[in-house]
Every structure is written in C-alpha cells, then in structure tokens.
C-alpha cells in the first residue's frame, strides 16, 4: 500500500523524490498527446509524487517559447523541435528528450475540389475504390492545372521543423513535385517550389482549408478525420503509408531542467512509459476509454466519434471509405517510446535535405547532435523501474541496442535509410540537397 501510494518500487529500499514536484506541461490539441492525458487522468503522475498541470498551447511556437523561458517545465513536442533548437535553427536552446511519444498518427488531406481533380489520375480497384497508397504523382497534374490558371498551389503544415513538413515534402518529392528549399536568408521554404507550403497551427487546419487559403495540409489526428466528418476534404495518404512506423512526437524539456531535476525527469518518464503501456495494452483494449478522455474540452475536445475514427485501428478516407490501419497510432508497441538516435538522425537529414541546415555536415556531426538531444539513458533507468514494479517485462524494452535501428526501406518510394550513414542516405534521394550543395538567395 505504502509503495503504491508513494509510487516507488517495493524492491527499492529508499524512495526517489522529485526535486520539483509541481509541474506545468504544455501540449497541442492532437490525439498523440494521449500519454500526457492518460498519465494525468489515471493518476500515474500523482503516484510518482508529481503534481502536474496540463495546458493546451496556441501553436508550436508558443509552446517551444514556453519551455525555453521556463513557463512550461516540459511539453509534447514535434520531434524536430528539440533538434532544431539545439542546433540553433529558429530559437536556440538546448532541449533534450528522454521519451518518444508515439509512432505514426498523421495524414495528408486535400480539399474536395483538389480530390475531384486528383481522382482521375488515381488507379481504382474492381470495387471502384482508389488503390492506396496514393502517390503525389496523381497530384502533379492538379498542380499544373492550378499553375496554368495563374494560381499557386498552397498546402499547410504545422511548423517549419515539424514531422508534417518533412512528411509532406517526402510525399511530394517522391511524386516528383518540388516542395521548395530553405536558405539562411529565406526561411519561407518556398525557393524553387512547385507547391508552396506554409505554417498553420493544427486545430486551425480544417478552418483554413475551408476558407480556401490552402488546398491541402499535413497534420496529426483528429484534424484529418475532422475534414471527413465536416465534409470539406479527403485524406489521401497517412504517414504510416509514407514511412511505416515513423517516429512522431517527443516529450521535451530543457537540458538545464533535466540537469537540475534529474529525479523529476526520471519520474516523468516513468509515468509516461506507464501511460503508453496502458494505451496499447491488450491489443488497444483501452483505446475507447482513451478516446473519451481525449474528447474532453480541456484536452483535444473534438467529438469522440472523430477522435475514435483514427484511434481505434481504422482510418476513414473518403466519406464511407473506412480502412483498417491497426497501427495508425502506436504508443508503445515496436519500442515506440524509446528515443532512438536513428530517429533523430532522420530528422536532421531532412533539415539538411531542404536547406534548413545550410552547410554540409559529416556523418559524425549527425551522431553527436542526436546524442546530445536524445536521452535513452534516462529512458532505460525509468524502464527498469517500471519492470521492477511489475508493470512490464524486459522484452518490452530494447535492451542492448546502440540506439540505431536496423536500416529500413519501409518508405513509400522504397529508398533505404541507414541512420549510421546520413550523407549516403541524402545522396540516394532524388530531390533535395546532397553533398556540398547549398541554396543561394
């Protein structure tokens, strides 16, 4: 009884107390903030002696600034944010992450008008349904048609260093469309672009699409399913189909905070691991309950049926075209929460690919940055405590890994990615910077 109330392992003789126990964490209204909501609602934070306030933030910029200036002790972050901040792209600050929040969970949606134009270029099966995954090649003629009538083709993503920006760019480039470069002088990311990408905060995506400012977007759930329910757009591809089990959000804190409050960081990670286990337990058996929690107005707040559409193993493309994607949102399986260096390196390669990292960097640099931001040491310590308390087994965690996943070609275009050789990977991509190239102007 005492052990559970105090949240420390029965096996441990002494208690671990957090240095700072009243914490404020920020999040964006997206289903992948679920581990935070679950850790709070199921009392995991409290069991670790942590008194947490969860605060929704207006957009990713406000959230990052909040963490940097100390208003927030930690936050649900885009995986690119800690990396970009640490290498000084955008706001500079050393942010670290001991916990990766999920795999997959995003989609690319286009407006009804664009879908109507795209559909004729998409192959259909015997039942008359479009064959997935849909390549951006089907979008190319649409973009051309827009350009012919003197209009630019605009799409939204959520932040310059967001997963969504890179996924959207990956999809477009794999289909032969150029999404544009960044340069030190021009941070719009629209140099040489066929498709103009701009920033819109996630929850505003459907409204912006409806207003006609953008013709499509890449965002996390529930904002793709929301477009289907509102009847304003059609998701054409999920990120699971672009890169199977791609890493998504992370939980970020400043390096300074983690250094000053090592126990706090450890206990937060432990609570989050437990929440992730709960989310995936027994073949997603707890997901309906998670959907109910997320639909509360102080978390994601969208209608429960919209959130459930992607959280319970399915995804609705066109209205009525519901398909099974059991791994659309993975919170714990496949070592989803372990902060792999190779995941960090992939984000860095994309920053280099699109010119956010203007100068070429040696392979060793990618490894160093990944090691300074990703903190599997904290993760494994927390994991050991979770095992000791009987919430998980050793098999649930990647003991013995060097932090690099095996090379994989589970991408839409089948290109092989090896995190140990980022420059070789960059060279193998057709569109994008490689070698010593840089963008002028």
């Amino acid at each position: 009884m005492l052990a559970t109330v105090l949240g420390t392992g029965a096996a441990h003789a002494e208690f671990i107390f957090p240095e700072k126990d009243e914490l404020t964490f920020g999040f964006i209204k997206l289903t992948d903030m679920a581990p935070l909501a679950v850790a709070y609602e199921l009392g995991y934070f409290e069991e670790e002696g942590l008194y947490v306030t969860l605060e929704p933030q207006a957009n990713w910029k406000v959230l990052l600034d909040g963490v940097i200036d100390g208003q927030l002790d930690g936050a649900h972050m885009l995986a690119g944010q800690p990396l970009a901040a640490t290498i000084g792209y955008g706001t500079e600050a050393h942010i670290v992450t001991p916990f990766s929040m999920d795999l997959n969970g995003n989609g690319i949606t286009v407006s009804n008008e664009v879908w109507a134009m795209m559909e004729e270029h998409v192959p259909h099966d015997d039942a008359g349904l479009p064959i997935h995954p849909i390549s951006a090649e089907a979008l190319a003629p649409v973009v051309e048609a827009f350009n012919d009538r003197g209009e630019s083709f605009n799409m939204g993503m959520v932040f310059p260093v967001s997963t969504h920006n890179y996924e959207l760019r990956y999809w477009l480039a794999a289909g032969g469309l150029h999404p544009g470069y960044y340069s030190p002088d021009n941070t719009t990311g629209q140099i040489d672009a066929d498709v103009l990408l701009s920033v819109t905060p996630p929850p505003q995506m459907p409204a912006t699409l409806e207003a006609g400012t953008i013709h499509g977007y890449c965002v996390g759930e529930p904002w793709n399913q929301q477009a289907v329910f509102k009847g304003i757009g059609v998701p054409v591809i999920t990120d699971y189909q672009i890169w199977e089990n791609n890493p998504e959000k992370v939980f970020g804190m400043t390096a300074e905070f983690v250094e000053e409050n090592p126990n706090t960081a450890l206990l937060v990670t432990k609570a989050l691991i437990r929440a992730a286990i709960w989310l995936d337990e027994n073949d997603n058996a707890n997901r309906p309950e998670a959907v109910e929690i997320l639909s509360r107005p102080n978390y994601v707040g969208a209608d429960a049926e919209v959130i459930a559409a992607s959280m319970t193993g399915t995804f609705e493309f066109e209205e009525g075209d519901v398909r099974d994607i059991p791994d659309f949102n993975v919170f714990f399986r496949y070592y989803a929460t372990y902060p792999f260096y190779s995941d960090a390196v992939w984000y860095l390669t994309q920053m280099r690919r699109w010119g956010q990292i203007a100068e070429p960097q040696p392979d060793s640099w990618f490894d160093e940055v990944a090691r300074s931001v990703y903190r599997p040491d904290i993760y494994m310590q927390a994991a050991q405590m979770v095992i000791d308390e009987g919430y998980a087994t050793e098999a649930d965690f990647p003991f013995g890994t060097d932090g690099y996943k095996d090379p994989t070609d589970a991408f839409l275009d089948g290109v092989m990615y090896d995190g140990r050789q980022p420059n070789a990977y960059l060279d193998s991509l057709t569109i994008g910077l490689k070698g010593d190239e840089s963008v002028g102007g």
Binding site: F17, Y51, G70, G231, D303
Partner: protein
C-alpha cells in the same frame, strides 16, 4: 372603552404614512436607477396605492418594451440561426446555448468532485509519508485539474481589475499634471494621441517579451500570463481616464483657483481640497470608460496569448471544433456581455456615490 379616534386624525395619519412611504420609494429610486432596475419604482408606487395611470406608461416603457425587444431578439435568433449551416453543424439557437449552460455547470460540478477526491488522496499520501518517517516531505498542494467555467470568469475578473488599478494609478496623477500645467499637457499630448489608438493585439507581443525578460522569478506572486494580460489591459485602458482627468482638472472654476491663490495653499492641499473634488465627476466618467475598454481588451489578450480566462475558453472551444463548440462560445459571448454590463453598472454606482452631478 377606548376613546373613539377621530376619523380626521386617522386620515391625516394615513396620509402621513403614505407620504413617508413615497419619500422612501423616491429615495430608493436612485439606487434602482443605478442598478438599471428603474422599472421597480412605478411598480412599487402602484402597490403603495398610487393611481396607476401615469405609472403604467412608465412600466410599459421601462419594463415591457425591453422585455418584448429581448423576446423578439430570441425569436429572430431561434428562427434564423438554424438556417446558417457551418461545417460544425447549424449555428446554435437559444435553446442549444441554454443547454450548454447546463453542461458547463455540470462539468464544473464534476471538476469540484474530482478536486475533493484529489484532496482525499493528498491526505492519504501525507499520512503515508508521516508513517514512513518522511514528515518533512509533507506539503499542502493545490488541485491541478482543468479550470471550470466559473474559475475562468473569476480569473478574467481578477486580471481586468488588476490591470485597471494599475491604469488608474498611472493615469490619474499624469492626468492631474496635464490639467494643472499647460506645458506638461503640450508635452504629453502627442504621446497620448499616438498610443491611444493602438490595438491590444499590437501591444501584446511587446508586453509578452518584456514581461518574460524582466519577470524572471519562477515562484513570484504572479503568473507571467496574468501579468501579460493585465499589463496589456493597462496599456489600452489608461487613456480615457487620463484624458478625462486632464479635462476635469483643467476646467475647474477659475474663482476657486484664485481663492486657493489668495489663501496661499500649498500644492498638496490645493490638489486634494480644490482640484480633485471638482474634477471627480469627469475622472469617474474616465474610469468607467476605461473599465469598459479594459474588459474588451482583456478578452482579446487572453485569446491571443492563451492566458487563462474567458478569452482562452473561447479560443480553446474554437480549436476543439466539436459539435458543441459554437454553442459554448455563445455562452461565453453572453457571459462576457453580461459581466461587461455589470461592471459598467458598478462603476456607475461608485460614480454616483462620489458625485452629485453624475449624468447617466
């Protein structure tokens, strides 16, 4: 047995009672008027036995007409709203909005229950700590759950009054100085003219950055977000007070000023005894305008900066995009309007307590 009372005396006494009653009603009328309930007076007079004729007309004008107008508005709203289809469903009518009032209230109740549970758990935890010999670890904590609708209202009110108090503290002295000295007024005038029309949304980023830079303590008295909103309110709401104070001070009776000179009053006495009393009505007019502006600005500031309060409630609901969101936002709009009205009445009441020449 008892002496028969003369019917004349009785009538006189009755008349006197009536007279007293009416004096009292007329006296109360001032209060009703301040509260915006002036329709009670004619009602009371009829009940006290006055002839209804003229009063009925007053009641019609003060009570029935506004009520009919509100009913017409509700009817129009109920018929027109469902015809506007948005992607979140039809615009909610009065009934859906009223339902959300109930939902918000039961949400708040649920949150209060959870709060109570939280304190029970905290107590159990402290008890366990005590038994484990870790008594020094015991702490009192506040509940960290989601804010209820009521607590959002309370936060907004606190913020607006805090900002308004700073604004008053800044604006009144500067206004007096402007009114007393023509040169000072000439110096201030361009600055006032330039900064007066600036929108809160333009101040907000600057205030946010400055507060973040200067207010670096983590465990100070105020939340940074609270300070940011409050200071934005200050910056936008100090102008009406400043201008009206200057005007009020500048326009005091020249005879009074001369008397002050003859009596050789020192500056402090002159300001306290001569200037302030005669400038008070205009100062209060300024304060009333300032509070109104402050309330309006606050909602915008909270919305943009995601600072706790009603503005954030509106923004969060807009972002939620649930099928109840529009109705909830309308509840907030009505709340904001009603509170704004009450704030104005409050200032009017204070104004009429301090001054005799207050006109509406």
């Amino acid at each position: 047995m008892t002496a028969m009372t003369d019917p004349d005396t009785l009538a006189v006494e009755k008349e006197a009672r009536r007279e007293r009653l009416f004096t009292r009603i007329n006296k109360a009328d001032g209060t009703f008027r301040v509260l915006g309930l002036s329709w009670i007076t004619p009602l009371l007079k009829i009940m006290a036995g006055d002839r209804p004729g003229a009063h009925l007309k007053d009641i019609w004008r003060m009570l029935a007409v506004p009520l009919i107008a509100i009913l017409c508005f509700l009817a129009l709203w109920a018929t027109l709203a469902p015809r506007v289809q948005t992607s979140l469903g039809a615009i909610p009518g009065p009934q859906q909005v009223w339902e959300q009032v109930g939902v918000l209230h039961s949400d708040a109740q649920r949150e209060w229950a959870r709060e109570a549970q939280f304190y029970e758990r905290l107590e159990a935890r402290n008890e366990a700590l005590r038994e484990a010999g870790q008594a020094d670890r015991i702490r009192e904590r506040t509940y960290t759950g989601a804010p209820t609708y009521y607590s959002q209202i309370w936060t907004s009110l606190q913020t607006v009054f805090f900002g308004f108090l700073i604004a008053t503290a800044v604006a009144v002295p500067i206004g007096i100085a402007c009114g007393l000295s023509a040169s000072f007024n000439a110096a201030m005038n361009p600055i006032i003219q330039i900064f007066k029309p600036v929108s809160p949304l333009a101040w907000l980023p600057i205030v946010t950055m400055v507060v973040s830079a200067l207010y670096t303590t983590q465990d100070g008295w105020f939340e940074k977000a609270f300070l940011t909103s409050a200071i934005t309110v200050t910056l936008c709401s100090l102008w009406p007070t400043l201008i009206n104070t200057a005007l009020g001070v500048a326009s005091i009776d020249k005879d009074l000023v001369n008397v002050g000179r003859v009596l050789k009053l020192d500056t402090k006495t002159r300001i306290l005894k001569l200037v302030l009393p005669s400038a008070l009505p205009l100062i209060f007019t300024g304060l009333r305008l300032s509070l109104g502006v402050g309330w309006m600005v606050l909602i915008a500031a909270e919305m943009l900066a995601q600072n706790p309060g009603l503005g954030k409630f509106v923004w969060d609901e807009f972002q939620n995009g649930s099928s109840d969101s529009l109705a909830r936002i309308m509840v907030a709009v009505l709340t904001i309007g009603i509170i704004g009205y009450l704030l104005d009445r409050l200032m009017y009441a204070i104004q009429s307590m301090f001054t005799f020449s207050a006109t509406r």
